[in-house]
Subunit: 416 residues, 2 copies
Amino acid sequence: MNIALLGHGTIGSGVYELINLNKGKFSGNFTDIENRRSSPVITKVLERDASKDLGDTVGKVVTDPKEILEDDSIGLVVALMGGMDFEYEMIKACLKAKKHVVTANKAVISEYFQELLNLAEENGVVLRYEASVGGGIPIIGSLKEEMKINRVTEIKGILNGTTNFILSKMTEEGADFADTLALAQSIGFAEADPTADVEGYDVSRKLSILSSMAYESIIRDEDVYKRGMTDVRAVDIEMTGSLGYTIKYLGHSILEENDLYTTVEPVLFKEASIMSNVNSEFNIISITGDIIGELQFYGKGAGKDATANAVVGDVLYILNMDADRKPESLRLGRNLNKAGTSIFKGKYYLRANLVKQEDLDRVLAAVETVADRKTVIVNEDKVFVVTSVIAADRFNEMTELLQKEVPEIFYARIYE
Amino acid sequence: MNIALLGHGTIGSGVYELINLNKGKFSGNFTDIENRRSSPVITKVLERDASKDLGDTVGKVVTDPKEILEDDSIGLVVALMGGMDFEYEMIKACLKAKKHVVTANKAVISEYFQELLNLAEENGVVLRYEASVGGGIPIIGSLKEEMKINRVTEIKGILNGTTNFILSKMTEEGADFADTLALAQSIGFAEADPTADVEGYDVSRKLSILSSMAYESIIRDEDVYKRGMTDVRAVDIEMTGSLGYTIKYLGHSILEENDLYTTVEPVLFKEASIMSNVNSEFNIISITGDIIGELQFYGKGAGKDATANAVVGDVLYILNMDADRKPESLRLGRNLNKAGTSIFKGKYYLRANLVKQEDLDRVLAAVETVADRKTVIVNEDKVFVVTSVIAADRFNEMTELLQKEVPEIFYARIYE
């Protein structure tokens, strides 16, 4: 079976090296298998630019999708263009042409999960997407395995390398958000338009894919409560650090009977905790099952080789699959009540910049509407508050009103 | 295919509940498979005591191994007796009788790894042992997966729940070793004879299984350098804590070209680190591959349900296996040079109790033979030293000599 690659960008070139250029042990998986003298290779690479040079290798650059869709020798397509519409159309076309598909595209998977799985099943082929969540961390496969025995009730994780890099760097250097984002952009750790990362869409897509699988129900990106992490400032890093906490950007979902709770937001973990010590481009994902308890998986959430490793793992799965055996289909039909964020409870840290005379009173009065007790530190033109335990929905409502009067605030729930 | 269970102890009863008593989702894995109307069950349970009561369930207690070995309806045996000789003989007999075997017995696997794998292959059956390392953590399967693409070069982990519970409890409560061991024994977290746990044999067996797989060479328990953790005292917890460190009991192996380095010993991690925050019965295992980088897996390293989960995962693998397909065999024939501990380098913490007048001078003179620089704290009848960076083999040699003169010492390398 020949393989086609859509996109020879960062991850695509990593996949090309692993499969075609003998980096890693890919080809070693085939020497023992009868009837297969040599390992499968990528014969065609779809690129917009025909002049893309693959060197003196077996793969050939093509610019017309038909060259892949109508090539019967190609049984498996690795879709790594990124973006939304074109990749979505290509994945659909490949599945309809009865070609297996492996992708790392979390946007396409989270948006069209059910449709694409159905399409694969109807056409007797397989869709794999391990690299769409957690980069190199083998979370999709592990979640499927644990679900054979467990009812999964909770997922939480640091799921975005860009924002974790920014927060780690700010913590390490005491730098401010804007400068650190600019640094991340300059070294290729953040996109020119960082919205998807810093506003939580990327985390939300990953959380929605894992949650859909775990809770057996389609959970869409827009079902997930999300709050960006662009309001965090050096002064927050400093103050929360002096309180013994580290700021992390967390995705978290909980299933309780038929009620689903989700959130993506900046939170605080104790410095002496596992989550606080997941730094830079590393990710961590925690899943909790009723039999196994909590499992956590840590690894590189981004980067060429680690992500390519996950993609090629999927490729190997398909190549080693028994042709006569139908892959297990995912159950996604459960009807869940999207129940908001009320299950997430904790003390809150809040910082507000005081501009007008009356701002301090406004902040304290607003916090008092939801918190029984609070600790207050006033420092020049800022007030810092740590509250007693409050449910997330109540605190979010309060801050929404408060922000109309005192716009520059940052807040985060404390995980203890 | 019927299943037999050897041993209805803690893990055995957990496995029985998952497979026979509809705890968890085990039976749900079979409703979709054609030609299989109902899920496989445990029909026989081998126990020494015939009066063992399984209640009104489908399983029957037997005391004669022949009842299982000669029962052709039994295709899979789950070996959870523990101990060494009897379980080893039973596993061999089952494989020879062409029955698949699943076991959690790390002693048997690490001692007879190659022989048992060969026996399984010769008889066309499968031997699985996921629960032998890391309890509920899916490390054996994950390691096999990553090895399809990666050359693994390093493994390290907190691999023993008993000693991690003791160290966590000592750290939490400032309690001493003997009291905490007694507490662990009283609540079933430590054996009456704790030697295997506190002297490192248990960690060494687990490390040798993972290292054998990862480095494709039989690494035996006795190849692993090990040092017990019975010398740690409340005063060490207090002093290392005040220096910002946490004491953990670590297994660590590194492969560099053909040189294998292994160690099992107490070490110090910074309080703000992932390793320091793996507490009580939880385990963590880190593997490093040349493509994927570092992956870490965290979960319950012991306990009825989590370990039973891992065992039943192996059972499911075998039940869902394609009968015509030979399982991939492990490569274990590589010839490695057992190169000791010289690759492990770091600052050292050392505490010595001063009994005789000349003890302080002896300790400082001994440390000076290996350390360029050192920080010394003398406190009543004890001396605490933190050294510059030293290779493990040099420090170990020095302390061996020193202990002849100043017997009560504790030392640990610092991981930074």
